[in-house]
């Protein structure tokens, strides 16, 4: 009976992990900033579900706290703050890509293969029930990196940064059943503060250059 139940949990976890990967690819293929924020919220929700599942199956009480923190911060507060930010900035629509979408997706596919290859020997050594999902966690991190690299606007780069943190969190839960509570609280607070500070940065950047294009930050001197 117990064996059967844990089999179900592993399958459900694998499903949630692949949904996480799917959302990362959806983020790569979207053009509108608004959609990206919605997808980020969905990613948080899937992360919440998978953390709860890991907490239930491993019996670790602290994981429930970090799941609750995920729900509060990544599903409700941060998307709301970001929504307000882009509304105030009037940046709901514009989103210029450096590379076109099919090419980005192809590079993303190569990254997924790389991540899976990288994770294979590591997950051999782990003994958690979630070890198979480590490759997916690594892939989510790398895909968020890719999103930060291929987007030009400041807001989308911040969303990429936040999605990368989601991937790191997922990697932590799948490799070692989560980090110590103090570290997790610290990271959560860091994220919140980072979003507020970056929000102020957005306004400063726009005031200086009349646009959120980070391209302008590359020149050090005014001509």
């Amino acid at each position: 009976m117990m064996m059967h139940q844990s089999h179900w949990i592993v399958e459900l976890l694998n499903l949630l992990a692949s949904i996480l990967l799917l959302i990362s690819f959806a983020m790569l293929s979207r053009r509108r900033t608004q959609r990206l924020i919605t997808l980020y919220a969905w990613q948080g929700l899937v992360l919440f579900a998978s953390t709860c599942l890991v907490a239930y199956s491993s019996g670790q009480k602290e994981l429930y706290y970090s799941a609750a923190l995920t729900l509060l911060l990544k599903v409700i507060v941060l998307p709301w703050v970001l929504y307000r930010l882009i509304r105030d900035l009037g940046a709901q629509w514009d989103n210029e890509l450096l590379v076109n979408i099919p090419t980005t997706m192809l590079v993303g596919l190569a990254l997924v293969i790389f991540a899976f290859g990288l994770a294979q020997p590591i997950s051999m050594m782990a003994n958690t029930i979630t070890r198979n999902t480590l490759g997916i966690a690594l892939a989510v991190i790398l895909l968020s990196f890719l999103m930060m690299i291929t987007r030009r606007k400041a807001v989308t780069q911040v969303i990429g940064f936040l999605a990368m943190e989601n991937g790191l969190f997922f990697a932590a839960t799948s490799a070692t059943y989560g980090m110590p509570m103090v570290i997790e609280l610290g990271i959560a607070l860091d994220l919140l503060v980072a979003v507020f500070i970056l929000g102020i940065f957005f306004f400063q950047i726009r005031e200086q250059f009349d646009s959120l294009d980070l391209h302008h930050l590359e020149s050090l001197k005014e001509d």
Partner: protein
């Protein structure tokens, strides 16, 4: 043999009804007065009673194409296990041959569209080939996902493998399922790629190819395209929702009736879902179609990768 004929006849009879149901759902969602469910049948009857008008320089190819289209779609319906898996025809061809049958139909339709020599016909044919050559590999990848899970390339044994094994969730099938819906929309000239009810020749793909057809030829082509949609829906059921299909050994009269009821229920739900997708999305520019289908292809490949990694 009875099962085989019964299944094909059911497919031929139900296909226009399925199209009518989707049209009705779309009308409801767009708060228009819905046409009656029997509208496609009335249309077919009207077309069969009319006299054929042929272009002066139409060759024999132009005239035989409607029959080829209809015949290949009926053959495909005979191969796909929609209500029972123990079909004499299904053992002859596997899913890859099935894609070949669809490709044959596409080639004939494009050639016939170019045959008359009108600008719209050849434009539609070229667009159809573009969409087709991008959709085919995506569909193959989707099928490979299912083949890997069941270890066979034949659709009936796939269904049998699902229904005999323990119920399990396969992450790779979520990717494959989304990719399959995208391919279905593109292949059947539905909204993100093509608008089936457009009157604007410049945006047409499928309609531009059949502009020159009339009367019974047009009726056969319309019927064939509704059969194509029905076939795709049945492939989707066999791959992702194989419950209720009468399997080998357990296909008496009641099991077949139950399978037919399950098929109708699945068609009702999937038709409503298709109408919802079509109402929520806008038609893409033709040059965005490669992007759309590239995403479908990559999703299917991702499904394969996830299957290999998670090993489930």
């Amino acid at each position: 043999m009875v099962r085989q004929f019964g299944e094909v006849l059911l497919a031929i009879a139900l296909a226009p009804l399925f199209v009518g149901w989707i049209a009705q759902c779309r009308a409801w969602l767009q708060s228009r007065t819905a046409p009656p469910l029997t509208q496609p049948y009335r249309m077919l009857r009207k077309l069969f009673h009319k006299e054929v008008a042929l272009a002066a320089d139409a060759t024999r190819l132009f005239r035989i194409t409607p029959y080829v289209l209809f015949g290949s779609m009926v053959l495909a319906a005979a191969i796909i296990p929609s209500i029972a898996t123990d079909l004499p025809f299904a053992r002859v061809a596997d899913a890859i041959a099935l894609i070949g049958i669809f490709a044959t139909a596409r080639v004939f339709q494009s050639l016939a569209a170019m045959d008359i020599g009108t600008a719209f016909g050849s434009m539609g044919a070229r667009r159809e080939m573009m969409v087709g050559f991008l959709a085919e590999p995506a569909l193959l990848m989707v099928l490979f996902n299912a083949f890997l899970l069941s270890g066979s390339t034949a659709l009936p044994s796939l269904v049998e493998a699902y229904s005999s094994g323990p119920l399990s969730i396969n992450p790779s099938l979520t990717f494959a399922g989304i990719a399959f819906v995208m391919v279905l929309l593109a292949e059947n000239a539905r909204i993100p790629i093509d608008n089936p009810s457009t009157h604007l020749e410049l945006t047409m793909i499928h309609e531009a190819m059949v502009l020159e057809y009339s009367a019974r030829h047009l009726a056969l082509i319309e019927w064939a395209s509704s059969l194509k949609l029905f076939n795709y829906a049945c492939i989707g059921f066999a791959l992702f929702l194989p419950w209720g299909i009468a399997t080998h050994g357990a296909d008496g009269g009641w099991a077949l009736l139950l399978a037919a009821a399950a098929l109708v229920a699945k068609l009702i739900v999937s038709g409503a879902a298709l109408a919802l997708i079509e109402s929520l999305s806008a038609k893409l520019r033709i040059f965005r179609a490669p992007e759309f289908l590239a995403i479908a292809f990559l999703l299917a490949v991702l499904g394969l990768l996830v299957h290999l990694l998670l090993g489930s």
